[in-house]
């Protein structure tokens, strides 16, 4: 049986025909939409490499059934920069050396964007570490990641303030 769903991925409307109801959002992104930026680390919800935002909230795309996403807005790593201009979180990951091999990085960045928008960090490194603890990094770049998230949070709230004024 074919199931068809409509969703938005990185701002673009997508009509997808699913011949198998078990297809995950991760496989949909990587294999059918050719958005390979989102990574598979475990396929079991235990590593965070596949993190994307669905309607603004972080999810493990490997645990999310594509069929459940009718009408959803999905944001992946490919959709965060504005043209050549990096998202503040991306820029902060570079500035703070928040990765080495880069395999966990798309998931870390998406998780960080989601976490910052949850608005509970208040510049506290402990909360960052706690909030990011679902994202494994075997290169052990955790110190850089924590600093990157703190810096991005600061920049983003600064920008938000300026925008409000």
């Amino acid at each position: 049986m074919t199931l068809s769903i409509h969703l938005t991925v990185n701002g673009a409307a997508q009509d997808v025909a699913l011949d198998d109801p078990r297809v995950t959002l991760l496989d949909l992104l990587r294999e059918r939409l050719h958005l390979t930026g989102t990574k598979k680390g475990c396929d079991r919800g235990q590593c965070g490499a596949c993190t994307v935002l669905v309607d603004g909230r972080r999810v493990n795309s490997c645990l999310t059934l594509a069929a459940s996403l009718e009408g959803a807005e999905v944001l992946t790593i490919e959709g965060v920069a504005r043209g050549d201009e990096l998202h503040p979180v991306q820029a902060a990951f570079i500035a703070n050396d928040g990765f080495q091999c880069g395999y966990c990085t798309p998931g870390q960045i998406m998780s960080a964007i989601g976490l910052i928008s949850e608005g509970r960090l208040d510049g506290d490194p402990e909360r960052v570490r706690e909030g990011m603890s679902g994202n494994l990094c075997r290169c052990g770049a955790y110190a850089g990641i924590t600093n990157a998230v703190l810096e991005a949070e600061a920049t983003m709230s600064e920008t938000a303030k300026e925008a409000a004024e």
Binding site: G37, K39, Q46, V80, Y103, R129
Partner: protein, 765 residues
């Protein structure tokens, strides 16, 4: 003369060139490559750790929906096994017998996950579905996982025809002299422990893409490696018995390697064979469970070590009995790992007499091979735990026993009892400095304060030394391109360390060119004649010096060409900002123009600097930990590292290596452990059961270098990729033991010191 671009030259904290694609999702890892028409493969694996089997039929699987090919051992008699290149020499001078992993097992499996068939279909799901239709009759045998148990009289045998699970014995040292040292000793201290088995767990699981060009009768393998040439050579020679020319290996971005991506794995010849038979690309992607089960494991030694001391605590002799679990087959370098390790077993101490026996042991488990540090973390753990034990036994402070026994600066070059020659080192220097940084003197006060909060606080150190960049070389080929950019070809392989950035720094230093005008090529046997790959922290010490030398000669050629063109003397030409200029004038020519004027010969420069001893990075780690006695949980509250890396090329990259290494080493001390059931079933085969370090619970690291340039390495560099993994495990465990000793008089705890183990230890007294 050259002018270094300070922002980018050697020693600068240049940010990484390779970052942009990685933060925007444009990285290109093996599974991101998907040529038109690619088929998917699935490996049928043994559910048993020891069994005999017969495949009675593959017909149903072959006929299944979307299936293109099913391979069993019977189909590939022409493909040779995964060869062991690290065979040890036994005391009688003989090389031991090796048991190697077949590409597909024929009639017996020896570990859970051993490969018995290979199915290729339109999708991975279809291949997996079809694999269930293969008819296999299993006759279960008895397996054994545990090292010491495998040596027992009545243990089940992994290789019955050998009559024993003992794979080899290796000895180093002087048994009689050491015996004498023990007879003369005023004190003897002893430790017994297991250096547990670890699983690499790079975030990118392995993947292999095979292609075959029928016209040229040539294979192309795309896979994550730590060096394409090594994998190509073993594929060509050992698996297919063909010319290396007939195989191309390509490595794109690699999501972590840590030693265990250095090897050729059986899925590589399988995807190539399938691609050849089907005339289409064939891709295999391992999942996380397969990674846990079949990629090479690390460590796994069972050790008893004793130190003979005089009345003052001077080390007189060291006796070690080390049993190394090899797994079911000899890995590519497997048997050699404990041998390399024991060569560093005297650490940074002056110990005249040693007597070391290593016994390699077969078990029904995954082969153990090089994992970040490869034998050297095991050696450092052994000697640093033993040093602490000696101190405690004698009632000496841990720093004092070390100070008494350090090789003194005036003893260099120093030849160890294991035959290594250390060039330089100031061991007391970095230990003293680390103690200052960590406020070692103020610890008692902090411990008191912690006690008031109901916490047990401990402090521990490890002073480590390791061997890097083993004797050898790495060629660098540079080319000035027509558009004025410079390309470097080098056969090391970045796995995220930032090679491209580091090498560009050497080039920028000599040629006065911007980073984005330098192109670094690794990872393609068609583009590079040869290469030693990455491992043993060799890329920067060996590769870097060749890049620097090649840059020097290219700069010289460029100055000559510019001198001719600008009608000046070469000595008056400087290379700055992508231009050749007559010093003190505004007469310049761009590198693009220079390239056009130059002969092909003058646009190229090669160098290959040979280094004939290893380099010896060393340093001190100090860990301070607090234990909650109610729960057994521990928290690292402070962590200090003072390292001697010889010369720092890029502090940013270095910090990344140090932090990452320390996190992995702390993981071993506190949480990570591969656990097998008695018969060899892996109990910890997911992130749920195998506890990886996460962002939470990690300390802020205080790090500084106290560099003493190497006199072995042409640029004084010592290497840094593994160092922190080596120092952090013993420092962390020593801190845990210190807390337990202060609170309860306990002198040891098994690794990893998990909350449960700590709680049990505290409550057993």
């Amino acid at each position: 003369m050259n002018i270094a671009t300070p922002k980018f030259g050697v020693g600068a904290s240049a940010l990484r060139k390779e970052d942009m694609p990685l933060v925007t999702g444009r990285g290109r890892y093996t599974d991101d490559v998907h040529p038109e028409g690619t088929l998917s493969a699935y490996v049928v694996r043994s559910p048993y750790s020891a069994a005999r089997f017969t495949i009675t039929s593959t017909e149903a699987a072959k006929a299944a929906d979307g299936v293109h090919l099913v391979l069993t051992a019977a189909d590939i008699p022409h493909i040779g096994p995964m060869k062991c290149q690290g065979v040890a020499t036994q005391p009688d001078g003989s090389k031991h017998a090796v048991r190697e992993m077949p590409v597909l097992c024929e009639s017996a499996v020896r570990l859970v996950g051993d490969a018995v068939a290979f199915v290729v279909a339109d999708t991975q799901a279809l291949a997996r579905d079809a694999s269930e239709l293969i008819e296999i009759e299993w006759e279960m045998g008895e397996g054994i996982a545990e090292t010491a148990g495998a040596l027992a009289e009545d243990a089940p045998l992994v290789w019955p025809e050998l009559g024993t699970n003992r794979a080899y014995t290796y000895k180093i040292g002087d048994e009689r002299a050491t015996e004498q040292a023990f007879a003369d000793a005023a004190h003897v201290s002893r430790i017994a422990f297991t250096n547990q088995r670890l699983i690499s767990n790079y975030m990118e699981t392995r993947a292999s893409l095979g292609e075959y060009d029928a016209e040229r009768d040539r294979f192309t393998l795309t896979t994550g490696t730590q060096g394409v040439h090594g994998v190509r050579d073993t594929l060509a020679k050992d698996n297919f018995s063909i010319d290396a020319e007939k195989v191309r290996v390509v490595t794109n971005d690699v999501g972590g390697g840590f030693g265990t991506k250095a090897f050729n794995y059986r899925e590589n010849p399988l995807v190539l064979e399938a691609a050849k038979r089907l005339g289409r690309p064939v891709k295999w992607v391992g999942d996380r469970t397969e990674h846990f089960l079949v990629d090479a494991h690390g460590r796994d030694n069972v050790v008893v070590a004793e130190m003979a001391m005089d009345a003052e605590g001077r080390f007189l002799g060291l006796k070690i009995d080390l049993k190394a679990n090899l797994g079911a087959y000899c890995g590519q370098f497997g048997p050699m790992i404990p041998v390399i390790g024991t060569s560093m077993t005297t650490g940074l101490y002056d110990i005249a007499n040693i007597d070391v026996t290593v016994t390699g042991v077969y078990t029904n488990t995954t082969p153990v091979d090089a994992y970040r540090g490869a034998g050297r973390p095991e050696a450092a753990f052994l000697i640093e735990r033993l040093a602490d034990t000696c101190a405690r036994d004698l009632g000496l402070p841990v720093e004092e026993i070390r100070r008494k026994n350090f090789i003194r600066p005036d003893q260099f070059p120093y030849k160890t009892a294991t035959g290594r020659t250390y060039d330089v080192g100031e061991f007391d220097g970095h230990m003293t400095r680390a103690m200052e940084c960590a406020d070692w003197a103020g610890f008692e006060e902090r411990a008191e304060e912690a006690k008031g909060r109901g916490r047990l606080r401990g402090i521990g150190m490890a002073t480590y030394i390791e061997a890097c960049a083993f004797a050898g070389s790495e060629a660098a080929n540079l080319e000035l391109n027509e558009d004025g950019t410079v390309t470097l070809y080098i056969g090391t392989q970045t796995n995220g360390q930032g090679h491209s950035t580091a090498y560009s720094q050497f080039i920028a230093d000599k040629i006065g060119i911007d980073f984005d005008r330098i192109i670094v090529h690794q990872g393609d046997t068609d583009r590079l004649a040869k290469g030693g790959g990455t491992g043993g922290s060799r890329s920067i010490p060996l590769g870097g010096v060749s890049v620097a030398k090649a840059s020097d000669s290219l700069a010289e050629k460029m100055r000559k060409v510019a001198a001719d063109e600008l009608e000046a003397s070469a000595a008056d030409i400087e290379l700055v900002d992508g231009e050749a200029r007559i010093v003190g004038t505004d007469r310049t020519m761009t590198y693009a123009d220079l390239a056009k004027a130059a002969s092909m010969e003058d646009r190229k420069a090669d160098a290959e600097i040979v280094q004939d001893e290893a380099t010896y990075p060393n340093g001190t780690h100090i860990c301070e930990i607090e234990i909650d006695p109610e729960t057994g949980t521990s928290e690292i509250v402070a962590y200090t590292i003072v390292d001697d890396f010889g010369v720092t090329v890029n502090p940013t990259l270095l910090l990344g290596q140090v932090h990452g290494g320390a996190v992995q080493g702390i993981g071993q001390a506190l949480s990570e452990e591969a656990v097998h059931a008695e018969d060899g079933q892996l109990v910890t085969a997911s992130f749920q059961d195998y506890t990886m370090p996460r962002a939470e619970g990690l300390p802020n690291f205080t790090f500084e270098t106290r560099n003493v340039p190497s006199t072995t390495n042409a640029l004084g560099i010592k290497g840094a990729g593994e160092a922190a993994t080596i120092g952090s495990t013993p420092a962390t465990l020593n801190a845990v033991v210190d807390a337990l000793y202060r609170a309860r008089g306990l002198t040891d705890i098994a690794m990893p010191a998990t909350p449960q183990r700590i709680w049990n230890a505290l409550n057993a007294v």
